[in-house]
Symmetry: C2
Subunit: 204 residues, 2 copies
Amino acid sequence: MTPRIFIVDDHPMVVEGMRSMLQQLPSVEVCGHATNARSCMGYFVNNTADIVLLDINLPDESGIDVCKLLLQQKPGLKIIALTNFDQLTYIQRMKDAGAKGYLLKNSTLDEIEQAIVAIMNGQEYWLGRDNLRDSLKDNNQLLLTRREVEVLKLIAEGLTNPEIADKLFVSASTIDSHRKSLISKLQVKNTAALIRTALENKII
Amino acid sequence: MTPRIFIVDDHPMVVEGMRSMLQQLPSVEVCGHATNARSCMGYFVNNTADIVLLDINLPDESGIDVCKLLLQQKPGLKIIALTNFDQLTYIQRMKDAGAKGYLLKNSTLDEIEQAIVAIMNGQEYWLGRDNLRDSLKDNNQLLLTRREVEVLKLIAEGLTNPEIADKLFVSASTIDSHRKSLISKLQVKNTAALIRTALENKII
DNA sequence: TTATCCTTCCCCTTAAAAGGGGATTTTAGT
DNA sequence: ACTAAAATCCCCTTTTAAGGGGAAGGATAA
């Protein structure tokens, strides 16, 4: 039996990319997608799926709440959280909400397949626990804070420390500190590489 | 009759992305792809297609030469050049080589469809002439030179001017000049925004 | 409640980038 | 051969960023 997969993400590009990758897996079928919580819930009123790939960040409601609601409605659903690099802090809450695993949005086809196979076999898929999060954390603290991501986005827009400081009503020293943490956490040596790494890992 | 399209690009991601977008067009069929000039030529020994989406940069031979060779072998082929932002200078040569149009690699599905429809109707598709290239050039000279792109990539890797200078065996002043041209041409105010713009426009 | 992390802020120094010029020599296309 | 564009190099100044510290207040979760 081929698992039917429903994709929920507010970025059409992510949906398309994921759909295109899943289509390369013969044993899998994409049964639909939604770009917000409401249309996702709408789908599951009259339809169903085996696996839901669920983004944590949705425009209208948090993926965590959507996860809970979906499982109330369809207890058999297997939900895999879709997350970005910077949102790994939320995976614990997705787990608590009943998700069976998670995937980074920049996962390879192999990783996606592994996750689906594991979940369909009744296992869970939390490679972050041992592989990603912790290994990265051990190395150099890779989880960005909310403020850091906020500053990072402004840096990428071309603002200088003083300009960002003005915008966020803090001192330039503070922004300088954030910039230093960013450079240290992402293990790069300057802002140019920081922006590149951030974009390539879909942090911003 | 549904046009059969052959994709030639050395980046698997571009091939996959293009294939996935083309599959959304009901009136189009992707008949194959190649990631280098040799396998492309090999395909056309025993097979054919209606339209070839041909990258200008191939690992083994220039897209311009491939274009000429293909048209010698299959005069009826309609070739559309696939180019990046920074390679627009080459479109004239692709035109001379017999191509019927060109598409940027970050084109939308609409643009791709327009190009295909136009080409299948016997027209050509050179929107760059009036839309892209000139409008951008008028504004602030947007075409990057080979050297500028080379420097840009090293900047994105986190190298400083002196480091890049060492690597390219030129003086740091030279790299400084290139960096200034890049910032001016892409109309950004610093390196952070430069890298972001470069990545978002697939210049690097 | 304590420990941890986040956010905030400051000091210092040095290195690099930005902003403004100008100028020369290659390279390549007409 | 000529010309336009590209690539090279230099001057100057000011502003930012980077690299090294440290430290205080607040939130929050075990």
